[in-house]
Amino acid sequence: MQNDQSPSQLLKQGLWQENPVFRHTLGICSTLAVTNLVVNTLVMSAGIIFTLSMSCVTVSLLRHITPMRTRMMAQTLIISSYVIVFDILIQAYLPDISEALGPYVGLIITNCIIMGRCEAFARENPVFPSLLDGFAVGIGFSLVLLAIAVVRELLGFGTLLGFTVMPDGFTPWTIMVMAPGAFFTLGIYVWLVRSFSMQFDKK
């Protein structure tokens, strides 16, 4: 099952056609919680992209020598190691954000997208396309997270990246910062994207 798509096709696929959140509603569990602030979301996205790309590359590099029966265990090991490395890096360079993200960095391990891409693509494809695939899916995923975070921070705190942007009389919608806000925002996004793409596909 070799894949012979061009790099641009791979990118487009990761960003839109195979977008993990809109198409399969996968991988949001561990990340939705940090979408109440744009800064946290950016760092979390960086973590996902890093782990996803590196894991895909590693799985692809080892694809000829990995025995079938232990491949899931091997993938878990690879993914967890990269997550720990990322965790150590942000503890060292971005201590405040590291504290704000708390256990959610560790939960990247159980993010279904990462193992999903390793299983579905990297396991059977050469290194470069695997890197590209992991990167594209990671970016597509991060854009959705950012879209949620912008709405939640803007309405919930009246700020963007910590700067006040709403006028003085604005009352923050605290509900947007809390859990229901995330569910509603994502629900409405999924609805919009699905309706839009259905019309798009008909034409």
Binding site: T25, L26, G27, I28, C29, S30, L32, A33, M73, T76, L77, S80, S81, V83, I84, D87, I88, G102, P103, G106, L107, I109, T110, N111, C112, M115, I175, M178, A179, P180, G181, A182, F183, F184, L186, G187, I188, V190, W191, L192, V193, R194, S195, F196, M198
Partner: protein, 197 residues
């Protein structure tokens, strides 16, 4: 967290701090397996069992093995391996000795390793400095809370499916997310019920 009553923690984990409705953990299986009550309940029951046991095991592993050896930074890897091994073990035992139970729960067990709520419960227990009893209460409570949430939404989705009144784009995950938002809002109301100590 020396002075938090495990009983309070147990109920708080089910209602006010529901792991799915306030921490978003375990959302993937929740969205994809909640089409009807039967499978929702089956998966939920398996989660309760695994979560309770792995939280306790991970607590012991962390404080008895990792801390004395100063290997705390390996906690993610160790926890996920403990969970995977435990699920595998349970699957083998259930298949061998309780075939009837295996028939009901068996297909859900492999799904559990990648359920972030399980790993999440272990990580929260460490970061919130729970004692062993508190961890047991927290693990069991979080599992039951997850079961409650997925069963509720499974029931609602069944009804909605029958009514057939939804716009096309909202079907499936869209409406499930919005129902979950309302559920989560409803569960916030429980926070007045539970007092510290």
């Amino acid at each position: 967290m020396e002075n938090l009553n495990p009983g309070t923690l147990f109920f708080a984990a089910i209602f006010t701090n529901n792991i799915l409705l306030t921490n978003f953990l375990g959302l993937c299986p929740y969205l994809n397996m909640s089409r009807n009550i039967r499978s929702a309940f089956g998966l939920g029951a398996a989660v309760v069992f695994v979560m309770t046991c792995t939280t306790v095991i991970n607590h012991l592993v962390y404080y008895r093995v990792l801390v004395p050896l100063h290997l705390e930074h390996f906690q993610y890897i160790v926890f996920i391996i403990v969970i995977a091994a435990f699920v595998q073990l349970v699957e083998m035992v259930v298949e061998r000795y309780f075939p009837a139970l295996y028939f009901v729960l068996g297909i859900f067990l492999p799904l559990i390793t990648v359920n972030c709520a399980i790993l999440g419960a272990s990580l929260f227990m460490i970061i919130r400095e729970y004692t062993l009893t508190q961890s047991l209460a927290y693990g069991a409570g979080s599992g039951i809370g997850w079961l409650l949430a997925i069963t509720l939404v499974g029931a609602m989705r069944e009804k909605i499916q029958k009514s057939g009144m939804l716009p096309k784009g909202l079907e499936g995950p869209g409406i499930t997310l919005i129902i979950t938002g309302i559920l989560s809002l409803a569960f916030i109301a429980f926070s007045g019920m539970i007092q510290i100590q």
